[in-house]
């Protein structure tokens, strides 16, 4: 079915939107209809076949009743954090737990925020060259809600924030959530996103992150969607001078997933760090795509500092899993003193697992330091031998090495509670992997 007819059912859902949003949605839907679903003919989609998503007929997401699985996971969340819960793409105030906020901080529903801050929301949702195309258009055309976190200049968020995005439905639903995080000058915040759910659904998320001068954001994502679900996510980050983005992503869930990060590093001294682990099994298909753009504005002869970025991604694939890493570093003409690094390591734990990796450099300035590395192979035989020589049985030795491999990037997660939780989820997943 052509995309345009598929969208008609959903238009009624959003018809109570303000006029400016209605217009933006129409344009976005028109753009998606013109572009169609991304296919493997597009370089950025070279290794991910979105066919299963395109062929499924999704119903618009609705409310859910009492969900014991959701109740359990909500109860499980760290009590010291603020908690924002989204169910099928809508903010659930009764399940969320948000303490007193500093003056000027907005933390809550994107829909509620955009209703009162129409001008800011309208500016934010305008098409830009930086964001992704078809799926972001579809998201803007159809999104129901999402997170908004606005931190005014100089404010440091006291408590870390957790966002739980839960999706659940009997019949396949499409959940489009749109989030916005904006930190003012020297503001700081720590956000931990958890994607989970039950049943068959497609979660298509877009996040716009704007980091003001000298601000710091720790942004950790746990993608642990139901194994029957599809997940596509696009995180667009813009960093001003001296801003820091410290990102981490753990990919475990979904039958088919693809998450992309698009960073524009626009101010001198700004730093973008992103690392992650992916652990897939069965017939899971998971892709991570990064586009890190060091723009010329990052370097001014007056302020001789350039911009920096650093990426480390580890991928472990069992059974018939298919993993993808497509990383791209762009250094624009004039973006001198850029220091950019990217590393992707993969272990294949079965004879039928497949990895496609493409770490790409595109450099138009000369006074830069850029490097990338990639390696693919089985577990390190010397490591195995060492453990065996210490009397550890082969099965345990392999598990220890896999655990160490996948867990190592978690070291970069600053929040100890989050790091501990990630290690626990990895251990639980490893326990169910058959080699």
């Amino acid at each position: 079915m052509p995309p345009s007819t598929r969208l008609d059912g959903a238009i009624a859902m959003t018809s109570h939107d303000p006029l400016w949003l209605e217009r933006l949605r129409q344009d976005a839907k028109g753009s998606f209809a013109a572009l169609g679903w991304p296919t493997r003919k597009l370089e950025e989609w070279r290794y991910t076949d979105l066919g299963p998503v395109a062929e499924t007929v999704f119903e618009p997401a609705g409310e859910i009743g009492a969900s014991s699985a959701l109740a359990a996971i909500v109860a499980d969340q760290d009590p010291a954090s603020d908690l924002a819960v989204f169910v099928n793409g809508r903010f659930s105030a009764e399940r969320s737990r948000i303490g007193a906020l500093a003056p000027g901080v907005y933390l809550g529903s994107f829909a509620a925020w955009s209703a009162t801050h129409g001008e800011a929301a309208e500016a934010l949702l305008q098409p830009t060259a930086e964001r992704a195309r078809a799926l972001t258009d579809l998201n803007i055309g159809l999104f129901s809600d999402g997170l908004t976190l606005i931190v005014p200049p100089g404010v440091r968020m006291e408590r870390p924030l957790r966002c739980l995005y839960w999706s659940e439905a009997a019949n396949p639903i499409a959940v489009h959530s749109h989030s916005h995080i904006a930190l003012g000058e020297r503001a700081s915040a720590s956000v931990f996103e958890i994607w989970a759910g039950a049943g068959g659904y497609w979660s298509n998320a877009v996040a716009d992150i704007v980091l003001g001068e000298g601000s710091q954001l720790a942004h950790t994502t746990l993608q642990n969607e139901a194994r029957t679900a599809y997940h596509t996510g696009s995180v667009v980050v813009r960093l001003a001078q001296d801003a820091q983005f410290d990102g981490f992503q753990l990919g475990l869930g979904a039958a088919l997933s693809r998450r992309e990060y698009r960073a524009t590093i626009a101010g001198p001294g700004a730093d973008f760090s992103l690392s992650g682990s992916t652990l897939l099994t069965d017939r899971q298909d998971g892709a991570t795509v990064t586009i890190v753009d060091h723009t010329a504005a990052g370097y001014t002869p007056a302020d001789k500092r350039g911009t920096t970025s650093n990426q480390v991604f580890k991928v472990a694939l069992a059974d018939r899993a298919h993993g993808v890493f497509q990383g791209r570093i762009i250094v624009r003409e004039g973006a001198q003193k850029t220091d950019a690094g990217m590393l992707n390591k993969t272990v294949l734990l079965s004879d039928r697992a497949v990895i496609d990796t493409k770490p790409e450099l595109e450099i138009y300035a000369d006074d830069v330091k850029c490097s990338h590395g990639a390696s693919v192979g089985d577990l390190d035989e010397i490591g195995l031998f060492y453990l065996r020589s210490r009397g550890i049985d082969p099965e345990t030795a392999r598990r220890m090495l896999i655990d160490a491999f996948v867990t190592e990037p978690v070291e970069r997660v600053a929040d100890p509670a989050v790091a501990a939780e990630l290690r626990a989820v990895i251990a639980a997943r490893l326990a169910e992997i058959k080699e």
Partner: protein, 480 residues
Amino acid sequence: MSATAREVVEAADSYKYGFVTDIESDSAPIGLDESTVRFISAKKGEPEWLLEWRLDCFRAWLKMPTPDWTKLKIEPIDYQASTYYSAPKTTPKYQSIDEVDPELLKTYEKLGIPLHERAALAGVAVDAVFDSVSVATTFKGELAKMGVIFCSFGEAVREHPELVRQYLGSVVPTTDNFFAALNSAVFSDGSFVYIPKGVRCPMELSTYFRINAANSGQFERTLIIADEGSHVSYLEGCTAPMRDENQLHAAVVELVALKDAQIKYSTVQNWYPGDAEGKGGIYNFVTKRGDCRGDNAKISWTQVETGSAVTWKYPSCVLTGDNSVGEFFSVALTNHYQQADTGTKMIHIGRNTKSTIISKGISAGRGQNTYRGLVKIMPKAAGARNTTRCDSLLIGDLCGAHTVPYIDVYNRSARVEHEATTSKISEDQMFYCVQRGLSPDDALSLIVNGFAKEVLKELPMEFAVEAQKLLAVSLEGSVG
């Protein structure tokens, strides 16, 4: 203008090999349709099957889109605007060098390859392709004694049709890509090499390609077959006279290495790169591929690419046989407005196959240099191993260096490693050399040659010397 600046301008203005030899061409009419293909085939007295093969390729080519996946910026090429065949007017078979047209010999003199001397002194058999038709072949007798066939492609079609028919298009399928299909339809001539079982070819084989007649693209076809247990080293070097219009060049090279055979293929490419403003220059679209068809076979590509306005070239290895080895060593240099999109593909099919890729890209002026490579480990390639190193050197802040590696692994026992770095020539290095009395140009040449040494040392000796000089000449005036 200072003395140095004047020298720089003069160096940039004078392309050493830029001259036109005045020989009347026996050319095909401008344009390309089936009659052009028939004209070429008839002109070369080809058998019916080859004409049919060409026509099939031509029909397939008509349906193919021009590739647009590279980072190259190219004005659309009008394929109807050039001639597809030109031969020097007199093409007799010379028995000795004295019979060769003196005009032709003068051209070789100017290019610095006195044919007879070079052949005698260096022990190199030269099958010189002058505007698509072979005019002289030396050392043929000596090679024939060992059963080695080294001749022009046209001759091979006449005298060894069974070999040509068996292997032509078997490595690069006719519809492999746009330019390979075009070449298959209109190829003019080229070289053919067959090394029989167990023979180690006693000398380096080399062919010099020259583009001479105005507006004629050159479409060589090279086919090298190394039978079981044989060994051959083949050299290819190119220079072309100065042109205003962009010239199209689309070659196809096919290598077949059977069981235990080894082929080493070295290239120094120095076609006219266009002037300092990016006007003119050769468009070089080459499809080179080798197939290690038997166990323990080895194919090694070494290339030094300093010329052409546009280079589009990915010498590849298909490692079919168990334990077969593929190698790719490359130095690509772009200056002024040159663009290069080059790299390799290593397809591991057999067990315990090994490949090594070392690529050195040098960008200066407004040059854009892209390494694009694929390493693919197929499910049955147990124990496959690949190491890739891509280094880029940037000279000046208006050039670009890009790395686009694709790594697809379908076998867990494979080990694949990829590393890439980008850096500029450090001021410390330059300062050190200059304060020791080297001119900036000499210092640059020294540093660049050091950067490229890993690759240059893979070249046969006489080529290594030429290549070092080329790098220096190509970079003149880039710093200072």
